[in-house]
C-alpha cells in the first residue's frame, strides 16, 4: 500500500489551509479568503471521490461504447451520415472497450456527435429520430451518474432531479 495515501495528503493540505492559512489572512483580503475556502471545499470533495472515479470511468466508457455501437449499426441515410458512421465504426474498432481511458471516451463522444450531426443533414427520418432518442437516453443516465458524483458540492438538489 502506498503511504501516505492520496486522501491523507489532500486532507492534510485542506487542514493546513483551514486551520493555519485562513486565520492568518487579514480580514480585508476577501478574495484570498474566498478562494482559500473554495480550495478547501474542492480538496475535501476530491478526497471523497477518489474511490469512485475508476469504476465511474469504466461505466462511462461502456455506456458510450453501447451508444456508439447502436448508432453505427443502425445508421441509414445519405453520404454525410454513412461517412460519419464509417468513421464511428473505425473509432469503435480501434478502441479497447475494457480499459478505461478519458481519451477513448472523448474520441467516441466526438464520433457519436459527428454522426448525430450528419444524420440531421441527410439521415433517414427513422434513423435521425433513433439517434436523438438514444442520444438523450444516454445523456439521462450519464448526467445522473455525474450529478451523483458532484452532489457533495452542494449545488444540486433532489428537487431538480
Amino acid at each position: 500500500m502506498i503511504l501516505p495515501t492520496v486522501e491523507e495528503r489532500l486532507d492534510s493540505i485542506a487542514r493546513a489551509l483551514e486551520a493555519v492559512i485562513i486565520p492568518s489572512l487579514p480580514e480585508q483580503a476577501k478574495l484570498a479568503i474566498e478562494l482559500t475556502q473554495l480550495s478547501i471545499g474542492h480538496l475535501k470533495i476530491v478526497s471523497g471521490q477518489l474511490d469512485k472515479l475508476g469504476p465511474l470511468m469504466a461505466t462511462d466508457q461502456a455506456a458510450i461504447f453501447e451508444l456508439g455501437s447502436g448508432l453505427a449499426a443502425q445508421a441509414d441515410g445519405g453520404a454525410a451520415t454513412m461517412s460519419a458512421a464509417t468513421a464511428l465504426k473505425a473509432v469503435l474498432g480501434g478502441s479497447d472497450r475494457y480499459v478505461p481511458s478519458r481519451d477513448v471516451i472523448a474520441s467516441l463522444s466526438a464520433a457519436v456527435c459527428h454522426l448525430i450531426d450528419a444524420a440531421s443533414e441527410d439521415g433517414r427520418a427513422e434513423f435521425t429520430s433513433y439517434a436523438v432518442r438514444t442520444g438523450l437516453a444516454f445523456e439521462q443516465a450519464q448526467s445522473g451518474r455525474e450529478r451523483e458524483l458532484f452532489y457533495g458540492y452542494g449545488f444540486d438538489s433532489t428537487d431538480n432531479m
Binding site: Q28, A29, K30, L31, A32, I33, E34, L35, L38, S39, G41, H42, I45, L67, I105, A106, S109, A110, V112, C113, H114, I116, D117, S120, V132, R133, G135, L136, F138, E139, Q140, Q142, S143, G144, E146, R147, L149, F150, Y153, F155, D156, S157, T158, D159, N160, M161
Partner: protein, 390 residues
C-alpha cells in the same frame, strides 16, 4: 414576398452581431496567450492613480481593496478623497474598478456595458458609470469605473428550507421585491432604442429570425472555440434550435443576465438598489430574458414549490409580465429560449470556464473548476427539456 427559411440562413454560418463577432475573434487570439499573472493591489493602485490624474481628477486615492464574488471580472473598491466645492472640507466618494482577466469566463465588451449603464440612468437603478478604458491604456486590459452602490446580492441569513443552485431570498423579501424586479424588467424592455440609439449596439432586423440567429450564432462560435469535449446532448440541442428558430417582430433592449444574484438590494428596506452585470445586454427578443429568469436551475424549490429566481412561481411570472408590459408571451418562442438558456449556461461552465482554467487565464481558476461541478446539472436539464420535445 419570399418566405425566409430560418434554417437555411443559419446552417454552419456564424451570423452574429458584429460587435460579438469581434469578441469571438478576441477570444480566439487570447487563447494562445501565456498564463495570467495577478497584479498586486499596489500595482493596481499605481495604474489607477495614473488613470485618474490623466482624466483630470484632483485629489487622492484612499484605500484600494480587492473584492470577492463574481467569477469573471477582477473588482476593486476604492475611495477618492477630494476637496469639496465652495471651500468645504475634504470629501470622500467610493468607486468600483472592474477589469478583465486575460480571458474572462464570458467575453464581453466594456464599451457596451458602459453604454447600457449610461442609457439606464434614471430609468432603473444602476451604478453610475464614471470612466472607461476600453483600450487598456492604464491596466493593459479593459477597465471601467462606476460609483459604488451599497447593497447585497443575497440575504445575510441563509434560508434552510429551500434547495437549489439559485440565490435564495425567502419570505418576506420575496413578496416585497417581486414587483420591483418586474417593474425594472419591463422598464428595460421599454427602452426606446430607436429614438435613443445605443452606441455599439446593432439591430437584428434584416429578417424576423435574425434576433434568434445572432444569439445562437454567438454561442455556437464560443462553443466551438472553448469546448473541452463533445457531448451528444449539445449536438442534439444545436440541431433542435436550428429547426425551431422563432421569428421576432418586437425587438427590445434586453439585459441578458437578469436574475436574482445580479442585482443589489437593501435587506432592511427590501429595495433593489442596483441592477448589475449588463455585459450580455443586446437588442433582441424579450423572450430571451424571460427564459433566463425562468430557468429551473436559477430558481429555488421551497416545500416542493418552484420559484423562478426565488421571486415568482412560473405561471405567475408570465402573467405578471404580460400584464405589466402589454406583451404576449409566445410559449413556443419561450421554449426555444429556455433550451437556449440552459445550453448557454452549459457552455459557460463546461466549456468557457474550464477552458479559461486550463489555460490559467483567470485569477479565479479554482472558482471556475468549482463551478464546473454544475456541468451535469445543466446537461441533465437540457436533456429533460429536449425529451419533452420528442
Amino acid at each position: 414576398m419570399n418566405r425566409v427559411e430560418p434554417t437555411a440562413i443559419l446552417r454552419r454560418q456564424f451570423d452574429m452581431e458584429p460587435a460579438w463577432a469581434g469578441l469571438v475573434e478576441r477570444r480566439r487570439v487570447a487563447q494562445a496567450l501565456p498564463p495570467y499573472q495577478l497584479a498586486s493591489v499596489a500595482d493596481v493602485t499605481v495604474c489607477l492613480e495614473r488613470m485618474l490624474v490623466a482624466e483630470g481628477w484632483q485629489g487622492r486615492i484612499g484605500s484600494v481593496n480587492r473584492l470577492g464574488g463574481g467569477a469573471s471580472k477582477e473588482q476593486f473598491l476604492f475611495d477618492w478623497h477630494h476637496r469639496a466645492e465652495a471651500g468645504g472640507g475634504e470629501k470622500s466618494c467610493r468607486y468600483v474598478l472592474r477589469t478583465d482577466p486575460k480571458s474572462p469566463i464570458i467575453e464581453t465588451d466594456c464599451r457596451r456595458e458602459f453604454a447600457a449603464l449610461t442609457a439606464m440612468q434614471g430609468r432603473v437603478p444602476v451604478p453610475e458609470p464614471v470612466l472607461l478604458d476600453h483600450a487598456g491604456a492604464y491596466f493593459n486590459r479593459p477597465a471601467m469605473i462606476t460609483r459604488f452602490v451599497s447593497g447585497v446580492t443575497k440575504p445575510s441569513v441563509s434560508q434552510d428550507r429551500v434547495s437549489g443552485l439559485g440565490t435564495r431570498l425567502g419570505e418576506p423579501l420575496r413578496s416585497r421585491m417581486k414587483r420591483q424586479f418586474m417593474t425594472y424588467l419591463v422598464a428595460i424592455h421599454a427602452y426606446d432604442w430607436r429614438s435613443l440609439p445605443l452606441p455599439g449596439f446593432d439591430v437584428p432586423d434584416s429578417d424576423p429570425y435574425q434576433a434568434a440567429r445572432w444569439s445562437i450564432g454567438f454561442w455556437d462560435a464560443i462553443w466551438r472555440l472553448d469546448k473541452i469535449e463533445e457531448r451528444p446532448v449539445v449536438t442534439i440541442a444545436w440541431r433542435w434550435l436550428e429547426k425551431k428558430l422563432p421569428a421576432c417582430s418586437d425587438l427590445v433592449f434586453t439585459h441578458g443576465d437578469y436574475r436574482t444574484g445580479n442585482y443589489l438590494f437593501d435587506e432592511n428596506r427590501a429595495e433593489i438598489t442596483a441592477i448589475l452585470d449588463w455585459e450580455l445586454a443586446r437588442i433582441g427578443d424579450y423572450h430571451e430574458d424571460l427564459a433566463w429568469i425562468l430557468m429551473r436551475l436559477f430558481g429555488v424549490f421551497e416545500d416542493k414549490k418552484f420559484f423562478a429566481v426565488d421571486l415568482y412561481e412560473r405561471e405567475d411570472f408570465i402573467v405578471a409580465y404580460e400584464e405589466a408590459s402589454g406583451r404576449i408571451v409566445n410559449r413556443a418562442t419561450l421554449r426555444f429560449y429556455e433550451i437556449l438558456a440552459v445550453l448557454k449556461t452549459y457552455i459557460v461552465v463546461a466549456a468557457s470556464g474550464l477552458s479559461v482554467a486550463r489555460r490559467k487565464h483567470s485569477h479565479q481558476d479554482v472558482m471556475l473548476t468549482y463551478m464546473g461541478a454544475t456541468t451535469p446539472m445543466f446537461a441533465s436539464e437540457l436533456t429533460r427539456l429536449l425529451l419533452e420535445e420528442l
